[in-house]
Structures are given as structure tokens and as C-alpha cells.
Symmetry: C2
Subunit: 110 residues, 2 copies
DNA sequence: CGGGATCCGAGAAGATACTG
DNA sequence: CAGTATCTTCTCGGATCCCG
């Protein structure tokens, strides 16, 4: 606010990018957009993410208010992740990005 | 294509994120959406980007077909950056992200 | 089962100096 | 003016081991 270059960091675009800029964030959100998922389900869906990374990204998404984490006190433990209202509101943007990518990025390019 | 986990890397969302995932990419695109800009203009607009980083990000955006680079053979040299048709097509998504951020991310949070 | 804690390498990002 | 070339720093993401 004091420095006049802060219009960059205060730009909504910058904030959004910081939140969903993680390597796996948007695909996780995309996956959760079809319904709540258990930790193991997500992990099996994205085998290339390590548990540690998956936990980290989910926690960050939780802190940013995109994802809700529900712990069921059972044996064995069970944890479900779902989108919050904020997260749901972001899905249309993901969808438009998805559609845009399909149209403008040739599958076999690069 | 061979491994069944490639649906992740082949996901349009993943591709889009790779392209605009750079720290400054989307704000640069956002800035260019108002019209062609010279290198020096961009640099002065974002003083926190080093020349090297700015050059790199612009070249990557150029390689990905989002930005057009026009070199004028003058003394002193002059280089103008502008959005390609693809880049222009992406602007509405930036705009929706911008609007979404304004609504859902409180200015004073965190 | 769903993590936490720690260590580590690669690549992103920053600082600085030089050039056509 | 608009870069290039290094060098350094730092953050992200990955691997591994341990825990309730």
C-alpha cells in the first residue's frame, strides 16, 4: 500500500495465481469438482504426486478457503476433501480454462 | 499416451498452467492486453522484475504463441511486444480471474 | 489410512556486469 | 534501449522414514 509498485501484488490476478499456482492445485480442484474425495482416492488418481506434496497442496488449498477437510474419527482413519463454496465458485473459471486449452492448444504440439 | 497417468499431463488445464504459471506471466499478459508495449515500458511498469527475468518470461510467452515480438531496426533499438490472436483469446479468462479475485479475495485478508 | 518430519536436488528467480 | 552472460539464492517439489 505504501510503495506504488504494490499494485502488482495487490492485483487480484496475482493473488489468484498465488493460490492456484502450485503444480498440482488446479488439477486437484478439477478432480474435486466432481464430488468429495478421500485422500487415498486422490493419491491413486494422481500417482505422480507424493503423499507429502499432496498433503501440502491440500492444506494450502484449505488455508486459502478453496477446500474443506473433513476428518472422520474412525478406525482406520478417513479424511474427505471437498470444495468449499469459494472453491465451487472457481470451477467455472477452471472449466473455461479447460475449454480454452482444448481449443487453442493442439494435442500434439511442441 | 502410453502410460495411463498421462491424462494428467495431457490435461488442457495442466498445459495452460504450464504456460501462464510463471510468476509474472499473467500480469504481463494483462498489461499487454491494453495494447502493444515496449520492453522499457514493461520494465518500468514492473520494477520488481529484473531485465533477465522479464526477457525470459516474454520469450517463453512468445514461444507459446501468446505474445508477438516486433523488432524495429533503429538506433536506439526498439522492441515492441503485443498479444497474438491466441493471447487476445486468452484475455477473457484473465478478466474472469481478475473479477473473481476481486469478489472472492478480500483486499485485507491474510 | 492418512498423515508428519526431515533431508535433498532441480529449477525458478534475483543480482550484477557487460554488449551491440 | 534492449538485451546477454554469469553467479548466487531460494523455493518448490520429490524421496524416505516414522507415527497415531
Amino acid at each position: 500500500m505504501s510503495k506504488n509498485t504494490d499494485f502488482v501484488t495487490s492485483c487480484p490476478l496475482t493473488k489468484v495465481q498465488k493460490i492456484v499456482g502450485g503444480k498440482w492445485k488446479i488439477v486437484i480442484l478439477w478432480y474435486l469438482s466432481v464430488g468429495p474425495k478421500r485422500f487415498g482416492q486422490i493419491k491413486r488418481t494422481f500417482p505422480d504426486i507424493t503423499q507429502a506434496m499432496l498433503t501440502k497442496q491440500l492444506r494450502e488449498l484449505e488455508e486459502d478457503g478453496f477446500v474443506h477437510r473433513e476428518v472422520f474419527k474412525e478406525i482406520p482413519p478417513r479424511v474427505e476433501y471437498s470444495l468449499t463454496a469459494t472453491g465451487e465458485n472457481f470451477v467455472p473459471i477452471l472449466r473455461s480454462m479447460y475449454d480454452w486449452g482444448e481449443v487453442h492448444l493442439a494435442p500434439a504440439e511442441q
